[in-house]
Symmetry: C2
Subunit: 576 residues, 2 copies
């Protein structure tokens, strides 16, 4: 038994409550090392014989197996130890290490399930289909509000291009979103700002006039809500734009400005070339970093967070550069926003391991760039094969609670990346396979505007081309594929909220498969990431224990009585 591989802590993703009396726990061991793992648990004050819960492997990567189970106690106070058996030896794993017999005071404790700690992201966001709109490039609904220097819509954009896209355009094109089946729209910034991307906010209380005005926003949000579609805005609180009133005041009055402490300025007078103040990234003079850990700065932006939820009914916020703002700001931001609307969604932009921010006190969800990287490597670039892909997915999965996994924005691309189809070298088959994965796997799939009609583009600025609206230029087959998968997703609730388990990962054939399952519903997805047809022997599928044999047979043998299914080149097989 490889003791060094065994890991558990009684918090975070390794121990979290899922109901008032139920604790879900996870244990990591070396892959393939153990025959059985179980948990012995009881009220932490003792008083009775322990219950025994067998654990099941929920995920595996190249090194580790991750066992899970649920413990139920009506007293809500858990004391527990693990019993690990490798077939030769059985040993207890406790908070204080490994023992043949459990000494006193060595149990892991999850001391109490308090209602308030029984946290999860808003139910509506778990598994929701998201559509990301970069307003300047989606549709130009009102040419009267265009900037003076507007370029032709179809011309390839530069960093400074203006195309005239606006919120009226979104209203005009709303049918496209409804037809597609979108459930949440995420808008990149819409507040007054000079750039086309508007991440350099000048006024957090004013809709950029090139995008529309408060009335346009109200109309758009009403239209969305009337269709059961939610809307979130982009909160850029890490830095302001150059023209933000507070920064302008500091430029004018120097250290005498009442806003001097809103920024981190090395010395006065303020200089801009190069900037002698802290900025977003390195020396981007137009984006001075905001000192959100100052009380009045914090209060200013907490009110921004409340204002648009309270006054305009937006359904939450996507938080730009979220990880460079202090944790306490986000804790208070969550309190402030949820006080206005308990169902509001708070999503952080994080490109790396995010568990620290998704613990219940800060964000509900984050951008799942780790999943995107895995999809790029597997489907688009072909630099990893099925088993590695499964390993990468497992690593992401085990970092978070199940409810967070269901809420993570599973994206294939964004305004900050090359478009996925372009990384596929324009190969629509590869892209379609990735889309099938994205729209059936656990998470809240986020479609970057235009990906659904086959738009291409290298990284910024090329990934921000004007949306293709001419059906002649759209890939209608790809669009139909998106609609079909989204419809399937809506038909089968398990694709939204079910658990998710890899059941097939064969690097030789490059076929990857997973099952979504819940009580009473299952969907099996097999993806052939190879240019050859592949035959899959259904008896080799590694079903979770929770899916009864009868159901397995119903899903597979009824349709394929010979026990074998043929996957076309780059083909998808979804058995529901």
């Amino acid at each position: 038994m490889l003791r060094e591989a065994v890991y558990h802590v009684a918090h975070g993703n390794y121990a979290y409550p899922v109901s008032e009396d139920t604790l879900r726990i996870m244990l990591r061991t070396a892959k393939g090392d153990l025959q059985t793992v179980s948990v012995l648990y009881q009220d932490r004050y003792g008083g009775s014989e322990p219950f025994v819960a067998p654990m099941e492997v929920a995920a595996e990567d190249e090194l580790f197996a991750f066992y899970q189970t649920e413990l139920v106690l009506d007293t809500k106070r858990f004391g527990y130890v693990f019993l690990l058996d490798d077939g030769k030896n059985a040993v207890f794993y406790t908070e204080k290490g490994f023992f043949d017999e459990v000494p006193p005071n060595t149990q892991f404790h999850y001391p109490y399930i308090a209602i308030r700690d029984l946290w999860q992201p808003p139910t509506w966001a778990q598994g929701a289909v998201i559509y990301q709109i970069f307003p300047e490039r989606f549709a130009n609904g009102d040419p009267t509000n265009d900037p003076s220097n507007v370029e032709p819509w179809a011309m390839l954009p530069t960093v400074t291009s203006q195309k005239g896209g606006d919120l009226q355009g979104v209203i005009d094109r709303f049918d496209h979103l409804v037809d597609l089946g979108v459930e949440l729209i995420y808008f990149t910034p819409v507040f007054l700002a000079p750039s086309n991307h508007k991440y350099d906010t000048v006024d957090y209380y004013t809709i950029d006039p090139h995008f529309g005005d408060e009335e346009t926003v109200r109309e758009l949000i009403k239209l969305a809500h009337d269709h059961g579609i939610r809307v979130i805005f982009d909160a850029v609180f890490n830095h302001s734009g150059f023209g933000f009133f507070a920064f302008q005041d500091v430029l004018e009055h120097g250290e005498k400005s009442p806003y001097a402490h809103w920024f981190n300025i090395d010395s006065f007078p303020v200089q801009t070339d190069p900037p002698n103040y802290e900025t977003f990234s390195n020396q981007i003079a137009t984006m001075p970093k905001l000192m959100t850990d100052q009380d009045d700065v914090k209060d200013y932006f907490l009110e921004v967070g409340r204002y648009w939820v309270r006054e305009f009914g937006i359904d939450g916020w996507r938080l730009d550069v979220a990880n460079e703002i202090d944790h306490q700001f986000w804790r208070e931001f969550r309190q402030a926003v949820k006080a206005e609307s308990p169902e509001a969604l708070i999503v952080g932009e994080l490109w790396h391991e995010a568990s620290e921010w998704v613990r219940g006190d800060q964000f509900d969800s984050v951008m799942n760039y780790s999943l995107q990287y895995a999809c790029l490597d597997f489907f688009a670039r072909g630099t990893i094969r099925a088993q590695s892909f499964a390993n990468r997915l497992a690593k992401v999965q085990v970092n978070h609670t199940q409810a967070v996994n269901l809420s993570m924005f599973s994206l294939l691309g964004s305004h900050d990346t090359e478009r996925f189809l372009t990384t596929c070298g324009g190969n629509v088959q590869k892209f379609s396979l990735a889309v099938a994965f994205q729209l059936t796997y656990a998470g809240a799939p986020m479609i970057y505007y235009g990906d659904e009609v086959g738009m291409e583009g290298l990284n910024d600025p090329d990934c921000r081309r004007g949306m293709i609206w001419d059906p002649e230029e759209q890939n209608l087959e790809l669009l139909a594929w998106h609609k079909e998968l989204i419809a399937l997703r809506k038909e089968h609730k398990v694709l939204r909220s079910g658990r998710c388990r890899t059941v097939w990962a064969d690097s030789a054939t490059n076929v990857y498969g997973f099952v979504r399952f819940s009580q009473g519903e299952q969907v099996l997805v097999l993806l052939n990431n190879s240019p050859k047809a592949q035959n899959i022997g259904l008896e080799k599928i590694q079903w979770p224990v929770a899916v009864p044999k009868q159901v397995q047979d119903l899903l597979t043998k009824e349709t394929y009585p010979l026990g074998e299914v043929r996957l076309e080149p780059h083909g998808t097989m979804i058995l529901a």
Copy 2:
């Protein structure tokens, strides 16, 4: 290289800021597996060649080595990977696993050191000498306020005994605390309650009249503060006493009581035998559990927390049954109390692994019962030997930041345990050795009243005997030993705030040694936990790299030119 043993996350105890530009990071590997470990780090937006920082083993347990180092970047945004070399192979360890070359987007990120995240417990509490007083048993200064059923002071207590101890007694005996060198007094509850321990609070705003009144408290706190001694009270918010007004109201008015939701009552009317409501532990009818996750209950107890800090100037709170109250309560409690006094100390009662509560948003410190267990097993019971003791200490150490480790209440006993000397079978030599450890090792040593004069007692109620004041009955040698060690602690700041490293752990001779070190100061402590004298070859001491050879020699060879030091049976050697 044992990859399964390698562990790092970019938060918590594995990555935390220690100044505005400095990040301390830790990496776990298999013990003895690697020759060198280093970190390659740079601004997370890139732009320059990475810096390289070698890592040093800071602690080892039976399975793992824990490497540490500090990274410095004036941009405060860290991207990093580890380079592990076992002498045969060198491999990079990244957020996404092991690689021969570092692929894009695989660095660990500590995105930004925000001032507000640069958290540590109050400096005054780091390493402070603490004295725990159970007021009913410390000294009876005012016989006029005694309960009617007072028993003779020296009579062995039962669960229900009343002895007449009070706060005037503490005032009268204050010289004892000053002479001892106490820096912080922790009082078990002093609010109105029927029991002798007063963990069944009837009124959180009233000092129990058997203990004194508000004036006594004011006098006591002024006396303490005049001597530079701080005072914390005990906050019992998990449950109230039976007589608490809200519970009485529910008893009287049932479900119509406006306080009905303050408790978790199965059905009305309320029944008490057995209780049909949730209680502390299992069915302790006199301690109904408080629903602190209800807003008005939360607000009531947050105000209690503020009140005694604001109105009486107490220096913080020890939190009873802290882990059975929801995390959000404690987050708001911290905000509330620190708003009254930023220097207030917040200490949770936790008997098990506590890292979830000591992350900056909730507690400053916790009771270090894991350290107590290790000391009991090593010094008192002799069930583990030096190497196991070192392993146990390492496990505790690596769970927390250094500042938290310095603030953990390192106790040998409390009102909830058998007295340490009793577990030593009355062997004062063993106890003295443990005290030498406690008062020189990292942490805030907490002395349970009377331990310093050799009091004995089995677990509650026996550990709560009346304090021995007659010098004839006190162990004056033990008292002098405490004073000597506390004086040494005050003389050498490094014993309060220095880092701590095991340098000797020999199970054969049962000698354990550690060094406290900081820039410019070092103290070496060797403890012979055996009934035989032992000779120690000083050249075998495993000094931290941070202690230069010259300083090592100064500490040892100048005093012991032959390179060998003799430790008496149960002897302590402190080289400062």
